[in-house]
């Protein structure tokens, strides 16, 4: 039988160490909504999403009450819209109409975000995919809850450099289209290499074509719990450190697994995966950077940071994998800058640069995330950063991503504040040497060799 100390430990995690379930995300396939008439397509999309996800928010709230644990977000991901709208949309503006429909459905249901305004163009782009990408600036500026992602490369296909160049321009245009709100539109846009089909986290969630009609994916969180556990093993060796992270990750993930199963039963939608990611928030004590510092770094970005992050990421996976029957999504430690108090402090202190962040993305779960850069940064430099990040993902067979915010009218020394989970960030210096002749070459970077790995 469960004892009072175990009960106390769990409740302390929830109340003091900010353990929560970050998201219940319902993936919904829109493939059966495809129609050549735009109005019919929009109607079918709205009808299907609102029908399947009608109870998502109430069920999420019920489960939170039953177990006494916050479930912060309820979200929806859909089939990449570039596929769904391919036959109906003849122009970027046609795609914007679908974005508005998605936003309307999300608002009606009360979900926080809806992801899947996406295109998968890792090898080539269809005219529809190009139109979707061209529509992103407008779509993200006239909707509130829609999130967009574009997959521009993979280990199997190489990197589509035409798409990389286009995404550099798209990020700039999205920044411009939302300049009144510090280019916030860019926070809802991710560029991926090796994007997973079942990621429940925003802004990169979409419902892959390999998935069932509807599915429940759950993302847990809990950097604060890991940090607190590590406080009790200060000065111990790496074996003890790793064991502590692993055990804590196990406990966190079990909660995610429980919530996922319960949501799946209540909604009568199959359970997909639990995403093991440690997702930070801007509040104190909920930071991945603070975990690294607890391990013994004076400030995140100091020598040893990449090694510390690598071991954290690996131990989280090792503990989490045993706790859940199906693990998927991104599963690792997120290192967004604006959404993590410790990261923001490290940047302000001058210990964390964009180059060190790039190195960290080789071993973390995603990539260069929520980084504010000067608004004057040329599109070609953004494309160059995307290409670098995609190359890391392609060669290392991992998911990498870029979510940069070139804040219009701001420069190094300024800062932005998006509020809530999005947080705030100082504008970071990036390398200002030119790479336009490289990105403008056009074409593809071929897939890497899979032998002779060094």
């Amino acid at each position: 039988m469960i004892n009072i100390f175990e009960v106390h430990e769990t409740n302390k995690m929830i109340e003091q160490e900010k353990l929560d379930v970050r998201t219940i995300t319902m993936g919904i396939s829109l493939l059966d909504c495809i129609d050549s008439d735009l109005e019919t397509l929009n109607n079918k999309i709205y009808e299907k999403i609102t029908r399947l996800a009608r109870n998502l928010v109430p069920v999420g709230n019920e489960i939170a009450l039953e177990y006494g644990i916050p479930i912060v977000n309820k979200r929806i991901s859909v089939t990449p819209i570039a596929l769904v709208g391919a036959s109906a949309c003849k122009s970027p503006d046609d795609f914007v109409e679908i974005a508005k429909t998605l936003d309307k459905a999300a608002t009606e249901l009360g979900v926080n975000f809806l992801g899947g305004y996406s295109a998968l163009v890792s090898k080539g782009m269809t005219p529809a995919e190009k139109n979707l990408i061209l529509s992103i600036p407008k779509a993200l500026s006239c909707t509130e809850r829609v999130c967009s992602s574009v997959n521009i490369g993979s280990t199997k296909t190489g990197i589509n450099m035409d798409a990389v160049k286009l995404m550099g321009e798209t990020i700039k245009k999205t920044a411009e289209a939302t300049k009144d709100i510090d280019s916030f539109g860019c926070a809802k846009l991710v560029v991926f290499c090796n994007a997973p089909d079942d990621n429940p986290f925003m802004a990169g969630a979409f419902h892959g074509v390999t998935e069932a009609d509807a599915i429940i994916n759950v993302g847990v969180s809990g950097p604060g719990v890991v940090k607190h556990a590590l406080e009790s093993v200060r000065g111990e060796n790496f074996e003890v450190l790793c064991e502590t992270v692993k055990k804590t990750a196990f406990k966190i993930t079990r909660v995610g697994q429980l919530v996922a199963q319960r949501a799946s039963e209540k909604l009568n939608v199959p359970f997909g995966i639990v995403d093991l990611s440690l997702a930070p928030t801007p509040s104190v004590g909920d930071s991945v950077a603070e975990i690294l510092e607890e391990m013994g770094l004076e400030s995140t970005g100091a020598p040893g940071t990449t090694a510390a992050l690598a071991l954290l990421n690996d131990q989280v996976k090792k503990g989490g994998v045993m706790a859940s029957s199906f693990v998927g999504g991104l599963s690792g430690a997120f290192i967004p800058v604006s959404e993590d108090k410790g990261m923001i402090d490290a940047v302000n202190r001058g210990s964390l640069t964009i180059e060190k962040l790039e190195a960290m993305t080789c071993v973390c779960s995603v990539g260069l995330d929520m980084i504010a850069i000067p608004g004057k940064t040329p599109a070609s430099s953004i494309a160059g950063i995307i290409a670098d990040e995609a190359a890391l993902g392609m060669v290392n067979q991992k998911t990498t991503a870029v979510r940069l915010i070139p804040v219009v009218g701001k420069d190094v020394g300024d800062s932005i504040d998006f509020g809530g989970l999005w947080g705030s960030a100082p504008i970071q210096q990036i390398n200002t040497f030119d790479c336009s002749a490289f990105v403008n070459r056009g074409g593809r970077i071929p897939a890497p060799i899979h032998s002779f790995r060094n």
């Binding site: 039988m1 469960i2 004892n3 009072i4 100390f5 175990e6 009960v7 106390h8 430990e9 769990t10 409740n11 019920e62 009450l65 039953e66 177990y67 006494g68 644990i69 406990k251 079990r254 909660v255 697994q257 429980l258």
Partner: protein, 90 residues
Amino acid sequence: MSKTIITVVGKDTVGIIAKVCTYLAENNINIEDISQTIIQGYFNMMMIVDTSSSKAQFSEMVTELEKIGEGLGVKIKCQHEEIFTKMHRI
């Protein structure tokens, strides 16, 4: 599914157990186990109760007990047992 854990955390005062037990009895909720201890200077009490023939809905029980807790100056929480067993038992 019907097992619920009720926890009371706060400063020890007269009548905590009496008030909680009265509410549970009125709603036909059976207490299977009670334990209490002091953790980090705070009074901690835990009850394992069976709510299978409860007159109150789970959500009502949560809010009612929360109210009783506020009156006593302590924090009362109700949670399904599974969150603890899943986390602490393989």
